[in-house]
């Protein structure tokens, strides 16, 4: 029986290794056919911003990998509304992440679910395994 796995992402990318490590673990976990969700809280929302270009800092730009999550059946990406607002961001500042629903003739659907803090609290409460980055 598959378990509900939640990966909580709370750090900005590049300044620390947490964001990249989380992404690596998510991709590995996705191969084990579990029910995977991602939460982006606090500075974690910065991981999903559009237009990242890491050429000048000499690090790998892993922001493009989030686009591929849908292909790994990782399509429940919860973003906390309050965290975006506190940082002066809106959904438009984030990448448009989608997945294809094979039950509906591969219709393209949004992966990002914008939720309030109290909704996020309920989402977290409803998991079997929680991993924090």
């Amino acid at each position: 029986m598959s378990k509900k796995f939640m990966y909580i992402n709370r750090k900005a990318p590049y300044g620390t290794i947490y964001a990249l490590e989380s992404l690596e673990v998510v991709l590995i976990g996705a191969a084990f056919d579990q029910d995977v969700s991602l939460a982006f809280i606090g500075d974690g929302v910065y991981q999903l911003t559009k237009g990242q270009n890491t050429k000048a800092i000499g690090q790998k730009n892993f922001s493009t990998v989030y686009m591929a999550l849908g292909d790994y059946d990782v399509n429940k990406i919860y973003v906390e509304k309050e965290s975006l607002e506190e940082r002066g961001l809106t959904l438009d500042d984030l990448q448009h992440l989608v997945w294809e629903d094979e039950d509906e003739d591969y219709a393209e659907k949004d992966s990002i679910r914008l939720v309030s803090r109290s909704e996020m609290s309920d989402v977290l409460d409803n998991q079997d395994v929680v991993l924090s980055f």
């Binding site: 709370r10 900005a12 990318p13 590049y14 911003t49 506190e86 940082r87």
Partner: protein
Amino acid sequence: MTMLHTVNKSPFESKTFDTCLGLAKSGSTILLIEDGVYAATTGNSVADKIKNTSDINFCVLGADAQARGIEAKLAEGIKVVDYEGFVDLVAEHDTVQAWF
């Protein structure tokens, strides 16, 4: 004496930027690097702190802003410098204090 301050932590997750701002003297420079560059973006509570501090020069390291995709959201009046500009700032100031 002029001092160059560098801040490398996000203002939303750490008090580092506030501590620096509280101790930086008039005429000094605060250079935002790494996750510190988020302090230079508009539309949040930190933007007002920078806006209301007219006697300190704020700079941001362009490479770190580009990496994080926030170049278009940088507040007005914040100077963008490259790595050579970073070195110039170090040379121009008497002392450097790294807040991390």
